[in-house]
């Protein structure tokens, strides 16, 4: 197994996540695309942890931290989407343009 095969997979996942964030209209799907990007970051952290044979396993510990932060982010994100839906009757990020000049 080479290092590059894993980092290239992470690159593809991250780019697909970026594409999703830019093109999706529904706020829940934007959050799902962000999850893809975070998963790509986790792949990189674990691969370099294994490759460098870190005695502290910092890569794996940090990927666990990222998983926890992602869970918190989704919780708050879904609550915000719910609030927006309640006030605007829509979860479409394009309709949130009241701050446009």
């Amino acid at each position: 197994m080479t290092v590059v095969q894993f980092t290239l997979l992470a690159t593809v996942l991250f780019s697909l996540g970026l594409y999703g964030v830019l093109t999706r209209k529904n706020a829940v799907l934007v959050l799902a695309s962000v999850e893809l990007m975070l998963a790509a970051v986790n792949v990189n952290l674990v691969v370099f942890d294994v490759y460098l044979q870190d005695a502290l396993h910092a890569g794996q510990i940090f990927s666990l931290f990222i998983i926890a932060i992602a869970a918190a982010e989704v919780g708050v994100g879904i609550a915000i989407v719910l609030l927006i839906y309640r006030n605007r009757q829509s979860a479409d990020v394009d309709q949130l343009r009241s701050m446009r000049g």
């Binding site: 290092v3 780019s15 970026l18 999703g20 674990v46 460098l52 609550a79």
Partner: protein, 195 residues
């Protein structure tokens, strides 16, 4: 060993030899079998026109990532991905979809038109090209040396000694996020009166 770049002598023609030896290794076939559904799931997540299918393809992709972690010997991280992402986060997404009455069916308008899609695709491909090229340039065909699976007890020892402060800070963050989510999502009684 940590920063070993091990450049290939010979350059181009050695790459083909490496490719055939790459395919002779069983672990690489396992990698391919896992990586192809992972990328396919990620692609369908960002392109599918059915919102529920889109989230369920995310399950495929994240399950692939978890399987990759397990092949890399990071068993605890892999199973945590299964428990937290597939078990909890996907359910949250589905609840969010249902509660916001997202348009279901294949006719739903979930993505922007091609005036946004084309620049976004271009940007993603350029980004992937830059990162991918720099990764290939930096590591070429550096092998991952044989490793032992990381035992969960080792991970726990490190987490609760060296990384105990970040762990506690993260606990506070989770608590704050939980309270924040409840405070945002609950309906106040005054709101009900005003309605």
């Amino acid at each position: 060993m940590a920063c070993d770049r091990s450049p290939t002598p010979g350059g181009g023609e050695l790459m083909t030899v490496d490719l055939s030896s790459w395919f002779s290794e069983v672990a690489n076939w396992v990698f391919l079998i896992i990586a192809i559904p992972t990328v396919f799931g990620a692609f369908k997540t960002v392109t599918s026109q059915n919102i529920v299918r889109s989230v369920l393809y995310l399950v495929v992709s994240l399950a692939g990532v978890a399987a990759l972690f397990i092949t890399l010997g990071a068993e605890f991280v892999g199973w945590t991905v299964v428990l937290v992402y597939i078990g909890a986060v996907i359910i949250l997404f589905l609840i969010g979809i249902m509660i916001t009455r997202a348009p279901l069916g294949t006719k739903a308008d979930l993505s922007h038109g091609s005036n946004v899609k084309v620049p976004a695709a271009l940007l993603s491909v350029v980004l992937a090209g830059i990162i991918g090229w720099s990764m290939v340039d930096a590591f070429e065909n550096t092998m991952i040396e044989p490793f032992d699976p990381t035992s969960t007890s080792d991970l726990a020892d490190i987490m609760f000694t060296r990384f105990v402060i970040p762990f506690e800070v993260l606990s506070i963050l989770l608590l704050a996020a939980l309270i924040g989510a409840i405070a945002l999502a609950r309906r106040d009684e005054e709101d009900e009166v005003n309605r």
